[in-house]
Structure formats: structure tokens, C-alpha cells
């Protein structure tokens, strides 16, 4: 097994809530609460969860765009939890990102040439000229855009074309890791599959590691080797992508799967029945007021008394990863098996 390129260990990110207006202390927002994962070169780790579950905060912490409260981030074995200013440029060359909104993540005033070329000039010292032009053309080709796009402005391109430009911009510095935060979420399905294919090919060609963030487990599973399911800043389940998808051990993972509608009326009728076993009118607790026990307890159809009293520890799951749920530690011990049959029988018993 190759050494991981990115290692995140016990990461915590808390935002001190301070009101500008009144200078009074506000409750701390606990956005990320002790998560760990690693990504090897050539591999993709998928992070999935509802909005507000902390996925983007993990990305921003790794990208040095937000301060880490506790924990360690390592790149190729070296600590990069807090990169000093003089080392920032070297760090930027190794970690790049493709951000969610294809409209606001490109500056309207620059042509594709500048958007993609900036990184080449900054990191390889190649000034605008024929050599840089050649490199930009090669990058555009890699993401499936013709040379005529060199002179385009962002407002002259569709969403899918813009995301390709974002990918080319990230590739320009030849990074070891690309973080794709909801990079395909705003696109039409047909365009989403084009962009996903581009990402796959880029990985095959360059061996770059991907951290792929999304809210649609079907998409995340498709592009990822491993996935982590986030809920309120916790990784409640993680493991191989197919394993987690086929044998979900956490009720929340099952809720996510049941929620994505499939383009097949018969199969969807089944998914709909499953999703209806979950509570309809409860919302996740606030990240500034976390419950003592399991954070999912108020929405969980199979919650037990212990769930509101004690935070479940991570236990090994049948799919080879782990899960944080009392069904696997105390109560009806599922011992890492899939929770799906249990939820079904519980819901029909009611």
C-alpha cells in the first residue's frame, strides 16, 4: 500500500462566535468535531452529508482558508496544520481546489488564458508567452476544451465549461491533491456526468488524489474509492464506497441513500417507502448546541434510551470501515452489519 498523500487526524474546527455589534460572547459553532481520514495518490475520498454538516469546513481547513482548532493535517508525511507564510507558496503548489459555484468561482474580468495561466506564472515562473500558451492549451485539451476558449470570459461559457476551466486551473500547478467541493452539484445531470468523466481521466493521467465533496451519495459513490458520511461535524460512518453504499451500518447513511430518487418508478417506490420511515418534521440540532448523545437521535427512527445519553464510539463495520452508532455497540447488537433490514422490520412492526 502506498503512503497516503493527505492525512487528516482528529480534526476539530470551531468558530468562536463573537457578535460584531455587541462585542458579547456568542455560543461557539462546532463545525467539525474530530474527524480522521487519509487519501493515497490515485485515489478519491468522498465526503457526503447534508448542508451544514461541516464538509466545506473540512475542505477550507485543509486549504488553509480557515484556522484549525485541534488535530493534525499532514501532506506527504509533513505537518501542514498551520503553514507559515513563507511556506505558503510551496503548499499552494501541492493542494488545489475546484469550488462549487461555477459562476462565482471564476473572476468575470479575466479571460481563460489568465485564469489558467496565473498559476503557471506564479509557480513555475513562466511569463506570458508562447511557452505558457502551449501549457495552457495542453491543460484545456486535458479537460476537453478547444483552443478557442483561451480568449473566452467566464460569462461567455456554460456552467459545465466553467467547471472544466476550474479543473484546468487546478491542474496548472501540477498538484498532488485536488479538493472538489460540490464541484458538480450546480450542474445539469448530463453536464455533471461530463465533468465527472473529466475528473476520472485527469486522475488516471496524473495520479492526483481527490477529496470529492457532495450531498448526493449516488454521485459520491460513483467517483470515490472510499467515502465518509458526515453529520453535524462527526464522521458517523466511513469505509469503501461500495461497501458503505451496499451495507450501510448507520441509520443516517441509510436515510441519505433512501433520499436520492432513482430514475425508475418501481425502484423509486421502494426508496420512497424507506425514506418515509424517517421522521419528517425534525431538523438537525444546531452546531452551536450539540446534544450529549448521538447527534442523529432526534431524527433516528430506531433511537434507544442510551442514544440521548452517550455519544457512540466508532466500531468496526462489516464493510471494512467503521460506524458510530449504538446499534452496533449496545442495544440490539448488529455488529457492523447493514442497518437496512433492521430499519425495515422496525418500521413495519410499528
Amino acid at each position: 500500500m502506498t503512503a497516503p498523500f493527505l492525512e487528516v487526524e482528529n480534526l476539530h474546527v470551531h468558530f468562536a462566535g463573537r457578535s460584531r455589534l455587541f462585542r458579547s460572547a456568542m455560543p461557539t459553532v462546532k463545525a467539525v468535531n474530530g474527524i480522521s481520514f487519509a487519501i493515497e495518490p490515485h485515489r478519491t475520498f468522498g465526503l457526503v452529508g447534508e448542508s451544514g454538516s461541516g464538509k466545506s469546513t473540512v475542505a477550507r481547513a485543509v486549504l488553509q482558508l480557515t484556522d484549525v482548532t485541534a488535530g493534525t493535517i499532514r501532506l506527504d508525511g509533513a505537518d501542514v496544520t498551520r503553514v507559515p507564510r513563507e511556506a505558503e507558496l510551496a503548499f499552494r503548489k501541492r493542494v488545489q481546489a475546484v469550488l462549487q459555484d461555477p459562476y462565482s468561482s471564476l473572476n468575470q474580468v479575466h479571460q481563460v488564458r489568465t485564469i489558467v495561466g496565473d498559476g503557471i506564472t506564479r509557480h513555475f515562473g513562466i511569463k506570458p508567452g508562447p511557452e505558457r500558451e502551449q501549457r495552457i492549451l495542453a491543460l484545456l485539451d486535458e479537460v476537453g476544451l478547444a483552443g478557442e476558449f483561451l480568449d473566452r470570459y467566464p460569462y461567455e461559457m456554460s456552467g459545465g465549461q466553467r467547471q472544466r476551466v476550474s479543473i484546468a486551473r487546478a491542474l496548472a500547478v501540477e498538484p498532488g491533491l485536488i479538493i472538489a467541493d460540490e464541484a458538480t452539484s450546480a450542474l445539469d445531470v448530463s453536464i455533471q456526468s461530463q465533468v465527472i468523466n473529466v475528473l476520472r481521466r485527469v486522475q488516471a493521467d496524473t495520479g492526483v488524489a481527490f477529496l470529492f465533496i457532495g450531498h448526493d451519495l449516488d454521485v459520491v459513490r460513483h467517483v470515490s474509492d472510499d467515502v465518509g458520511v458526515m453529520y453535524l461535524g462527526y464522521l458517523v460512518e466511513q469505509g469503501g464506497a461500495d461497501g458503505v453504499y451496499d451495507l450501510p451500518a448507520h441509520p443516517y447513511t441509510e436515510m441519505l441513500i433512501a433520499s436520492v430518487p432513482v430514475p425508475d418508478p418501481a425502484a423509486q417506490a421502494e426508496r420512497r417507502a424507506l425514506r418515509q420511515t424517517f421522521k419528517k418534521d425534525t431538523e438537525p440540532p444546531s452546531p452551536s448546541d450539540l446534544p450529549v448523545g448521538c447527534p442523529f437521535a432526534n431524527r433516528c427512527p430506531v433511537a434507544m434510551d442510551i442514544c440521548t445519553e452517550l455519544m457512540p464510539e466508532a466500531t468496526a463495520a462489516r464493510h471494512g470501515g467503521h460506524v458510530r452508532c449504538h446499534l452496533h455497540t449496545s442495544g440490539p447488537v448488529l455488529a457492523g452489519e447493514s442497518v437496512v433490514p433492521y430499519i425495515r422490520s422496525a418500521s413495519t412492526a410499528r
Binding site: D118, G144, R169, D264
Partner: protein, 651 residues
């Protein structure tokens, strides 16, 4: 993949449009005759500044030594007359441009030189630095401008440049505010994060990314402040603390009209005052003109809209019993060069009570436009160019807006994509729910409030009584969408139109929202039109489906037929691209290219450039809807295809 990339490269006629948008700025700017006049005046001013001798026939300082031709009115020798020393007033006015433009230059260099960097710094750094800068700035901002100018004059010497230095400092506070506001807004944009990730330093980001976005508002501000600077300069000169008493400065000339103690001297007010007023006016008009021409929306307002053509109603076309029936609807948008883009053509649909009609297609295919046009809401400058719409058995194609408003609020409920944005942020949710009840029914206030609480309970918002008194920002996206559904239900509509109601929501909340809509429909028995780009949502909620592509309906079928036996290659391809259709991790099938923009739709089948089955017959004729049972399909070759349910491909 390679065919997809070439297709992308081929389709996309946009650069021409972009070039047009850029040159369009000047066209829009000079469309307004007032702006043209202002530009001419400012050009004259600049000419007078550069080569006053060219425009002025006399020396502005040399008077008539004999003092015989003083205080003259306009004459052939002196177009605007003479002053108390017999100097030519026209020439003095021309030379006055020197002082005016110099004043602007000094003040603007100081104002921009100080204000923009400080604003950038303050906005970018934020925190304590920002607070200190803004505190000092606000204090200076609140002082009268003339006072600041006098302070500088006292420290330095009484001259126009030092007065303008003071004015510049005062005006800098305006630029600090503007620049900081723009910086604060741009700083939050994702592209700034992207620039940091690329490794650009903060000064580089400020210079290359934020400043260009600042420029448009800066230019407008410069034009308007220039007018103010000239006025203040003249005031200072008038007060005797600006230009010297001998100078042909407009303010000094005004002052002389007073100091000359002769009734005839009053005439001097006219040339100097006129030049002053016209210059200030010109700068303001120019500023307004630039501002009006800069906006993106301004581009469309310049196009002319053809008159609506009223068509004879063709009621017999409509299916009886349908809640909403649309026949052969077409919508045109005027395009540059007198062209018309037909963004919709031959769109027909009907929806019956208790039924959910799903409308699916990629963005830009015309789903929302169909609904807007059918409900009399075609956005300007678009117009209905053909077709007939009947609602509840009544012909409504060209209903007057007033009558439409009644129908829309009462008989048709609408739900939108951005649930929070669809609510008025300044009004409590309860008030918004009550509004349509009070307008469309004869309920009293207390009855309406009770009904509003009932509605919230019906859409399963917990604690409805308390929620009524909250503002929209206190609602999560999912809860806000429930409020949206409650509002749509308020008057028991016959038709509910939901335009991408779950697209902005989390998948878990999407499921809950779909369940809620189904429940509500069952209880009230209304017809629902559900617009979405997600075939999964269609499979979940629709009874019948309409697939749209490039402004046309390409297939209609019952939901089970559509998924088990899609007939149109586009429907087939859409199904294939969904990741849910694939178990493995291999490449996903793609539809090469993008939906072309309306200006570039091909003559034959509009899907032909992206269709793998296209032959010559698809490119020459426009295939019409053909019946297959009750299902319709727009494809000349559909009978040859035997598409099964999508295959589970795995790699």
C-alpha cells in the same frame, strides 16, 4: 469522452454575442441624447483646457487700456461682452476651463490616491484596522468640505491647488466608503478563495481581481464627484480663498460681478455662471449615463419589442376537463439586428385535476418560460407570438393583467426554487400568509390568522403559532419551502405549479418536501405541474411526463412508459447519464455538447447535433409531434428504435 469534447468545441456561438455586449456599451451610452450633449460639453472643456488659445480670440488677462469698452454686452468683437477692465468675457470663460479641469485633476488625484488604497486595505483586512480606518473616515466625512479646504489653506497658503488638496481629502472619504464596500462584497466571492488557492498574494489579488470589479462604480463616482469639485472650487474662489482675483476663474468672475459695484457688472454672472452650471450638469448626466449603460440588464432594454398580435381564440382545440391547457404556444425575444429568437415553439400540454404532470429537461430548455408565458408573465422584452391557453375551461391567452392577478393569486398556487428568497424578508411569515387570504377572500384579520396557523400545521411546520411571528431568515430552506407550499395552498387553488421546488434543498429535505406535496395533493385533489431537471424526482412524483429540449416538447408519456420504453433519443440519453443508472465506477455515458442557445438552434431536429442516430432526414425537415397511442414524440426515426429500460452497465 473525445467526441464529447469536440462537440463542446463546435457548439458555442457565444463569442460574437460577447463582442456585441462590449460594443453595446457605447451604443447604449450614446443612445440618450442628453448623455451625448454632456459628452460634447466635457470634450469642449478638455479642448479648452489643452489649447485655450484655439477657442479664445483674446488674451484673458489683457483688458482695454483705454477703459472705454468696459461692461459691454455681447457684440461682434466680444461675443459675450466685456468685464470692468474691458477684458473679453468669452475668452475668460474659455480660459476658466483651465482652472476647472486643474481643480478636478488635483482633487481627484488626491481623492483616488488616498481613498482607493485605504478602502481596499480596510475592506480586505477587516477587524481592528477596518474599524480604525472607518472611524477616522466617518469623522472626516461628516465635516463640511469647505471647512477641510480652509484648514489646508491655513496650513499651506491660500491658492487654488491647496484648496483643492483639501477638497481632495474630503472627497477621499467618499472613495474609501465605495472601495471598502466593493472590497467587502468581492472578498466573499469564491473566485477570491480560488485566487488564494492558486497562490496569489493579497496585493496581487487586490490589484488584479478586485480593482477591475471596482472600476465601473469608480468611473461613475468620478464623473459625479467631478461636478461637485468644480462647484466647490468656484465657491472657494468666490469667497476669495481659491483662485487669485485677477484669474479668469469662473468663481472669481462670479465674485467680480458682486465686487464691481456696478449694475452693468451683473451681466458677468451669465457667462461664468452658465459655464459652471453646464459643466456640473454635464458631469452628472455623464455619470448617470454610464451607470445606466453598465448593467447587464441594460443590454436587453435597448431592443424593440414588436406589437402583440392578437389571435382568434381557438377554444375547440382544448381538451375538455383540463385545468390548464396550452396549445401551440410560441414566445419570441427580440434579438440584435431585428432578429427574433423563438425561445419556445409549438408547446402544447394539458393537466387534469388530481394529476401531476412532470416537466423535465436541461436548463435552458424552456420549462420555466412555458409556465410564465402561459400565466401571462412573459418577461419583457419577450412576447407571446402564437398559441392559445385555457384555464379551467376559460380562454385566457390575452387576459388583461388585472384579471390575471385575481386568477393567479387564488386559483393557481406557485412554488419556487429558492424558498427563502421567494419570501419577503421584511415581513413576518404570518403576515405574508394572511395577505393573500385577505385579498382573495372576505375573511377578517383574526380569521385569516387562524387559517394561517392551520396552513402551517397542515404543511407540518412544528409549533405553528410561534412560527407565524418569525421572519423568513429564521427558517431553514426546508421549512421555508413548507411555508411556500402553505402560501400556495392558502386559497385552495385548482392548480399548483412547482418550479424546481427541491433543487436548492438537501436530498433528505427534498424527499420530505416531495412527500408533503403528494399528501397535500391527495387531500385537495388539485392538478400539479412539477418542473425539474432531475428524472429521479419525476420517477418519484409524476403521473405523466413532458420532456422538453431547446424550446420544444420532444416526448410525452405516462411515467411508467417513459422509463420503461423511452422513445426519443434525448430522453434515452438523459436517463443514461444519471449516475444512479450505473453500479460501477467506470466512465458515465454523456450527451456531448450543451443545449445550444436559442440563436443557434438548427433548422431540422434541434437535438440532431448531439444525437447519435442523426441522419440527413433529421437535418432537413422539422419533425412534428407524432402520436404513438396517446404518447407523442418528436423524432422522425422513433419507429426504428426499441429502447428498453436503461441497462445496468458496470465497469
Amino acid at each position: 469522452m473525445s467526441d464529447a469534447s469536440t462537440a463542446v468545441a463546435v457548439s458555442a456561438p457565444q463569442p460574437v454575442q460577447a463582442a456585441r455586449a462590449r460594443s453595446g456599451f457605447w451604443m447604449r451610452l450614446f443612445r440618450n441624447p442628453l448623455t451625448v450633449a454632456a459628452a460634447v460639453w466635457v470634450t469642449l472643456l478638455l479642448l479648452a483646457w489643452l489649447w485655450p488659445g484655439l477657442l479664445a480670440p483674446h488674451d484673458p488677462y489683457a483688458g482695454d487700456v483705454t477703459l472705454t469698452r468696459t461692461f459691454e454686452g455681447p457684440s461682434w468683437d466680444h461675443w459675450l461682452g466685456t468685464d470692468g477692465q474691458g477684458r473679453d468675457l468669452y475668452s475668460r470663460v474659455v480660459f476658466g476651463a483651465r482652472f476647472a479641469v486643474n481643480s478636478i485633476l488635483i482633487a481627484m488625484v488626491v481623492a483616488i490616491g488616498l481613498g482607493v488604497p485605504l478602502g481596499l486595505f480596510s475592506g480586505w483586512r477587516g477587524g481592528r484596522a477596518d474599524r480604525v480606518v472607518m472611524w477616522v473616515n466617518d469623522v472626516l466625512f461628516s465635516l463640511p468640505i469647505v471647512l477641510l479646504a480652509m484648514a489646508v489653506i491655513i496650513i499651506l497658503e491660500p491658492s487654488l491647488p491647496s484648496a483643492m488638496l483639501g477638497v481632495g481629502i474630503a472627497m477621499a472619504t467618499r472613495f474609501v466608503r465605495l472601495t471598502r464596500a466593493v472590497t467587502l462584497a468581492e472578498k466573499e466571492e469564491l473566485y477570491v478563495d480560488a485566487a488564494r488557492i492558486t497562490g496569489l498574494s493579497p496585493p496581487a489579488i487586490l490589484r488584479r481581481y478586485i480593482t477591475p470589479n471596482l472600476l465601473p462604480s469608480l468611473i461613475v463616482q468620478v464623473a459625479i464627484i467631478s461636478g461637485a469639485v468644480i462647484l466647490i472650487g468656484a465657491t472657494l474662489s468666490f469667497l476669495g480663498i481659491g483662485a487669485k482675483l485677477d484669474d479668469p476663474d469662473w468663481g472669481v468672475m462670479l465674485a467680480r460681478a458682486r465686487f464691481d459695484f456696478r449694475l452693468e457688472g451683473i451681466w458677468q454672472i451669465v457667462p461664468a455662471g452658465g459655464a459652471l452650471v453646464l459643466t456640473v450638469l454635464a458631469f452628472n448626466l455623464l455619470g448617470d449615463g454610464i451607470r445606466d449603460s453598465l448593467g447587464r440588464d441594460a443590454a436587453s432594454s435597448s431592443l424593440t419589442v414588436p406589437r402583440k398580435v392578437a389571435l382568434p381564440p381557438v377554444v375547440q382545440l382544448h381538451a375538455s376537463g383540463a385545468v390548464l391547457s396550452i396549445r401551440d404556444l410560441a414566445v419570441g425575444f427580440p434579438a440584435p439586428g431585428g432578429m427574433v429568437n423563438r425561445v419556445l415553439s409549438d408547446v402544447s400540454l394539458e393537466v387534469f385535476p388530481g394529476e401531476t404532470l412532470g416537466v423535465v429537461g436541461e436548463s435552458g430548455s424552456g420549462k420555466s418560460m412555458t409556465m410564465l408565458a402561459a400565466l401571462g408573465l412573459t418577461p419583457a422584452p419577450g412576447y407571446l407570438s402564437q398559441g392559445s391557453v385555457s384555464f379551467d375551461g376559460r380562454e385566457v391567452t390575452f387576459l388583461p393583467e388585472q384579471e390575471w392577478q385575481e386568477i393567479r393569486g387564488r386559483d393557481i398556487g406557485m412554488i419556487f426554487q429558492e424558498p427563502v428568497a421567494a419570501l419577503n424578508p421584511a415581513l413576518r411569515v404570518g403576515r405574508q400568509l394572511m395577505q393573500s387570504l385577505l385579498v382573495h377572500t372576505d375573511m377578517s384579520k383574526s380569521q385569516a390568522r387562524a387559517r394561517a396557523a392551520e396552513l402551517l400545521a397542515e404543511v407540518q411546520v412544528p409549533d405553528p403559532e410561534r412560527r407565524l411571528d418569525q421572519y423568513p431568515h429564521e427558517f431553514s430552506g426546508g421549512m421555508a419551502q413548507r411555508v411556500g407550499i402553505a402560501m400556495a395552498l392558502a386559497c385552495e387553488p385548482k392548480l399548483l405549479i412547482a418550479d424546481e421546488p427541491t433543487t436548492a434543498l438537501d436530498v433528505t429535505v427534498q424527499g420530505q418536501t416531495l412527500d408533503l406535496m403528494a399528501e397535500v395533493q391527495q387531500r385537495h385533489g388539485m392538478a400539479v405541474i412539477l418542473i425539474t431537471h432531475d428524472l429521479g424526482v419525476i420517477a418519484d412524483a409524476a403521473d405523466r411526463v413532458l420532456v422538453m429540449y431547446a424550446g420544444q416538447v420532444v416526448e410525452t408519456a405516462s411515467v411508467s412508459t417513459l422509463f420503461s420504453r423511452p422513445r426519443h433519443p434525448y430522453t434515452r440519453a438523459l436517463l443514461d447519464t444519471m449516475p444512479q443508472s450505473h453500479r460501477g465506477h467506470g466512465d458515465l455515458p454523456v450527451i456531448g455538447g450543451v443545449v445550444p442557445s436559442a440563436a443557434a438552434w438548427p433548422d431540422g431536429c434541434r437535438f440532431a447535433p448531439r444525437c447519435e442516430f442523426a441522419t440527413d432526414q433529421c437535418r432537413t425537415s422539422v419533425p412534428l409531434l407524432e402520436a404513438v397511442g396517446t404518447d407523442l414524440v418528436r423524432c422522425v426515426r422513433h419507429a426504428e428504435f426499441e429502447f428498453g429500460p436503461h441497462a445496468e452497465t458496470s465497469a
